[in-house]
Symmetry: D3
Subunit: 131 residues, 6 copies
Amino acid sequence: MATVTLLTDEQLAPEAAAVFADIRATRGTDYINNFWRALAHDPALLARTWSQLKVVMGPGRLAPQVKEMIYLAVSIAHGCDYCIHSHTAAARAKGMGEAELMELMAIVGMAAQTNRMVAGLGVPVDEAFKR
Amino acid sequence: MATVTLLTDEQLAPEAAAVFADIRATRGTDYINNFWRALAHDPALLARTWSQLKVVMGPGRLAPQVKEMIYLAVSIAHGCDYCIHSHTAAARAKGMGEAELMELMAIVGMAAQTNRMVAGLGVPVDEAFKR
Amino acid sequence: MATVTLLTDEQLAPEAAAVFADIRATRGTDYINNFWRALAHDPALLARTWSQLKVVMGPGRLAPQVKEMIYLAVSIAHGCDYCIHSHTAAARAKGMGEAELMELMAIVGMAAQTNRMVAGLGVPVDEAFKR
Amino acid sequence: MATVTLLTDEQLAPEAAAVFADIRATRGTDYINNFWRALAHDPALLARTWSQLKVVMGPGRLAPQVKEMIYLAVSIAHGCDYCIHSHTAAARAKGMGEAELMELMAIVGMAAQTNRMVAGLGVPVDEAFKR
Amino acid sequence: MATVTLLTDEQLAPEAAAVFADIRATRGTDYINNFWRALAHDPALLARTWSQLKVVMGPGRLAPQVKEMIYLAVSIAHGCDYCIHSHTAAARAKGMGEAELMELMAIVGMAAQTNRMVAGLGVPVDEAFKR
Amino acid sequence: MATVTLLTDEQLAPEAAAVFADIRATRGTDYINNFWRALAHDPALLARTWSQLKVVMGPGRLAPQVKEMIYLAVSIAHGCDYCIHSHTAAARAKGMGEAELMELMAIVGMAAQTNRMVAGLGVPVDEAFKR
């Protein structure tokens, strides 16, 4: 139900094809998921988004599985169905098992519950929490 | 700017006082933050919320710092100012440094960006991501 | 911290003054809250919004207090601080006591929790729920 | 399109089976909706969520139909399709007719509209609304 | 997957039929989209919503295409799939091409990213931005 | 109420100072707003975010004022107070007057209202809107 068509490899502009080649090389798979095929309508936007994602999700202080779980938690809070599916798959590929997934779900649900109670009661930030 | 008053220790019903005692014992500090003082208007709700939180954020598969960072990520996505402050403080108390905080911020921002692009383009879920 | 000034009675265009007069007559109080003073920069928008609100929150199938509590629940879910404060006050004026307020908070929190779990697990709608 | 499988009765751990039995007894129907079948992957989370829901949605100050309508309003504000469907069905089962449903929709829409205007104009909370 | 049925022309109350006639005349097409068919269960709500929409989206300071793109941006931020599809179609009908659509997507994504970073870092509003 | 300190020019790492110099040159003003001072804790994230923003908000198909209004509309939908203030100021600097601001507000409010009604009624996407 996309609002734009999903481009096939044959329909790509050269700049978009170069990004697809880098995605394939970086991930070690020939599969390109739908998000990139939709974004390929604007090769410059595709290139900026992919290069930024590579840096943000690349090596850092946090473990790759932890990074994916944070990405997934945000996607759940935003109610983005596509993102939930793709980042659940990515987190599983990086080692997340069913037990960790359910633990994540419990935390996300707990946060949602207390977030709304705090908003509804208008709780002021404790001085102890300020920098 | 609370919509209810924040109860002092002297104003607590006995059931609420018992919960406060358990919070103090569990956390090893005398400090009770404003959220619990607002919730204390309904001792049963206070007790349910605290006992649930203790289980969800207690020992499990994920490290305590990771759990707090997931909680924080959801609070940011919900735009809950109080929750952002309290869980940033909690994550710091469990070992999160400035570098990890900024790495979290980069992931949360990246997720927000791609979440909205995916929604706007109506990208359908890849068959490869379904269970 | 408004992005527009809050207009005083002296600064109103005649069409805005007429709306203020109707708000005062309808509510039986001289007090005009800040929302209307901000909206008064566009008298036509002010008039449309007020006349729509009068109908929506006026007599109907649901009791006035219930209507205000539904309004409040949405405002909490949206994290709108101003709206939470004004509709908590309005619901109290229509009979909501502290016990009902805390019961509302428990429902809103519970809904937030299960809403996120459902999204995160990608639960498909039961056939039994469809029309 | 679930990210986890929906467990059948045959696949349940004993603790999960006990919760299903209680859901059936409490609701007086054999039907178990998909949410619980997804949550059953973590019997402890299933048990906590169900026991909390029973208390929150059980007898209190607010009428059962009102409680369901507040739950529904939050689900609409969160854009949770599954929750909207299940709680519309639940509210109907507790007496909500088409007229009340449309009245709810008008309130939820009105709240969304003014919530966004208030945010956009940065309207400060009236002193009169503070506790 | 509607929670109400979509009314056909034959099922309309006279007041709803009059609104449908006005939609057809205003838009110069016989096609009535699903939103109005759902809303038709409450002819008064249908009439209020349509008359408000006609004014808001009618002639003003902003160009029709710009108005539709702002409407679309909000719908993306809310994750409303139906609204994204209908307002993408409407914006295209008013002149938006693929390049403008992708430019919109880049802005919406950028705004989402910085919005979350700002929330997460608790950045205070600059004095320079206040009125 | 920031969760990190806002860095002064004296506290900047060389890479962050270089970004600040580019912001000043690009905008033709010495003033650096709080968002960049918070982000400066991570010079690489600061540099990526600024360079991306320069491209996204730079010359394109859409007029600068229109771009800022789309940015503002998303910020309102997200309830990001800081972003609302900074992008209202930016849109004004690019020519938005009070009349356009109020027209934007009417559209954002209208979109919020219909978005929630659509979600609540579970309206299915018309075939006519699909690509």
